[in-house]
């Protein structure tokens, strides 16, 4: 450790630079993890990458560009069910999240025995990826939109309950106390002091999560949960042109929903 003596006579130590420790750990992790990324030159076929992209964005042999874009007409139904399952899942999941978020907020329920287990449960739900939820749901209720709704509902519940309790914890509690001091019950105080502060944020999160859910549900069909992903799954082996056309529609819808979500959330704030 380097020591410096200042002109005033006091000595200061140069602080230890942690950068080298961090770099060391990082290098170690990279080396260890690299062993698990198996690299076989025989499987790498870069020209295939160009071929597949060309196949996706041009009509298949024997089909015309008219067929390519004509396929989009068949996509309305799966597209609508994708949006339906996102919306239904977002709404149901968010409604379930409200009571749990209130229970998890430290400023409403001050007891550690309430918020610690609730938060652990929330974290547990949040760890399961939407795709795994969909895989499970498909085997519980069968192939179709309903399994997508269930997966999206649980997925939404996980995100919304966490975001919501963090908002509830940051609200200004003075009006709540003021109402309580005038003799209002806890429920009344919550309704008139906390709810108006939280509600606009809740709405804005609702729209944001809907946007995330449209992205997520677009591919859930790949494991049989209905919607536009199932079209990709059905065509991925032989009809790359249809996969490409579906992908274009999917990207446009996601962009539109994203634009709509940004616009509405901008208005809400």
């Amino acid at each position: 450790m380097k020591k410096f003596t200042l002109s005033s006579g006091s000595t200061i130590e140069k602080p230890f630079n942690k950068v080298w420790v961090v770099l060391g750990i990082l290098t170690l992790l990279i080396v260890i993890f690299s062993f698990f990324i198996t690299f076989e030159p025989s499987t790498v076929n870069l020209s295939e990458l160009g071929v597949i992209i060309k196949k996706m964005f041009s009509p298949k042999a024997g089909r015309t560009w008219g067929d390519y874009f004509g396929f989009i007409n068949q996509l309305w139904e799966p597209l609508i069910s994708t949006l339906e399952m996102s919306l239904a899942g977002t709404v149901i999941g968010s409604l379930f999240a409200v009571p749990i978020a209130i229970l998890a907020a430290k400023n409403i329920f001050k007891s550690r025995f309430v918020y610690v287990p609730i938060r652990f449960f929330m974290n547990l739900v949040r760890t399961v990826p939407a795709m795994l939820l969909a895989v499970l749901a498909v085997y519980f209720v069968g192939i179709g939109v309903l399994s997508g709704v269930i997966a999206i509902t649980i997925f939404t519940f996980g995100i919304m309950s966490k975001m919501l309790y963090e908002v509830i914890e940051t609200v200004d509690m003075n009006p709540y106390e003021a109402l309580e001091s005038t003799g209002a019950s806890k429920v009344q105080a919550f309704r008139y002091a906390v709810f108006p502060q939280v509600f606009p944020v809740f709405l804005s999160y609702l729209i944001y999560i809907f946007e995330i859910n449209v992205r997520a549900s677009a591919i859930l069909g790949y494991v049989g949960a209905g919607g536009i992903g199932s079209v990709i799954k059905d065509n991925v082996l032989y009809n790359y042109d249809r996969v490409g056309a579906t992908l274009i529609v999917m990207l446009v819808v996601i962009l539109v929903v994203q634009f709509f979500s940004n616009y509405v959330r901008g208005k809400l704030q």
Binding site: F33, F39, V44, G144, I219, M250
Partner: protein, 272 residues
């Protein structure tokens, strides 16, 4: 002018018209969605029955499969696959962060000006909207069914969000220290090292750690299309109704994600 309560109340903005229109539209959309997703009591009852049967098997962990012994090779075991998933998530994030840097410079108006930044932003948006699973489907054709595909998918997909957040950090940077360095005659390298790096490194690392969380989660499902990790065994066991194996995988995912979450948020709290 006298002010009284009634007059003030009358002056309150009439928000109820817009509110009721908005609520009606939302309600109609929700009701239509419920019908479209064909939720009914009979199906809900089936779920209940299935939950009891499959749920019991799900919590019955398969220890042989967990550590990869007996009929399972070590490479098929959950422990190996979990580390492989972690490797995909970690190295993918690293690749993504490195690739995102040039894109973020391209998208920050501080560095390239407003016009070029718009183009850079548009590129990042296009990368962001491309679903990960589809990206993996394409990359798998070029690189084969292995963890390398997963790593590249995660890396390319991460560019979108990392690039956006990086460029915001660069835009919010304090330029005065750069000017001060210039005034004392610093070279470009010195300016980057002492003027830019100390300001943005903490934020960049924090953003990358946050992305690591997300990427480890998505690395668990990329195996569904053959991009390595736990996903392949997950979908296979579900298709063959091997619920004990699926249960073991779920436990592994939950433990792994919770651990990465805890480490990442601990490190992030130290950084800020």
């Amino acid at each position: 002018m006298t002010i009284n309560a009634q007059k003030m109340l009358a002056r309150k903005p009439k928000t109820w018209i817009m509110n009721s229109i908005f609520t009606t539209i939302l309600l109609v959309a929700v009701i239509l969605s419920f019908q479209g997703s064909s939720i009914n009591m009979l199906r809900l009852q089936t779920i209940g029955v299935n939950l009891r049967i499959i749920g019991k098997q799900l919590i019955n962990l398969n220890i042989d499969f967990l550590i990869g012994r007996g009929v399972y090779a070590f490479e098929e075991g959950v422990i190996y696959l979990t580390i492989e998933t972690l490797a995909i998530g970690f190295l993918g994030t690293l690749v993504g962060a490195i690739l995102a840097l040039p894109f973020s410079f391209l998208a920050s108006k501080n560095i390239v000006g407003i016009k070029v930044a718009k183009i850079g932003e548009a590129i990042l948006v296009m990368i962001r909207v491309f679903p990960e699973v589809i990206l993996a489907l394409v990359i798998v054709k070029g690189f084969g069914m292995n963890a390398l595909t997963g790593m590249l998918t995660i890396g390319i997909h991460s560019i979108g969000m990392l690039g956006k957040l990086f460029s915001e950090t660069i835009d919010n940077m304090d330029k005065s220290s750069l000017e001060a360095l210039e005034a004392v005659g610093a070279t470009t390298i010195t300016k980057i090292r002492y003027g830019i790096m100390p300001q943005i490194m903490a934020d960049l690392s924090s953003i990358t750690l946050y992305r690591l969380d997300i990427n480890v989660r998505s690395a668990t499902v990329l195996g569904i299309v053959g991009a390595g990790g736990l996903g392949a065994s997950m979908i296979l066991s579900a298709e063959n109704s091997n619920w004990d194996i699926l249960g073991t995988i779920m436990v592994a995912i939950i433990v792994m994600v919770l651990t990465v979450d805890a480490i990442s948020s601990h490190l992030r709290s130290k950084l800020v």
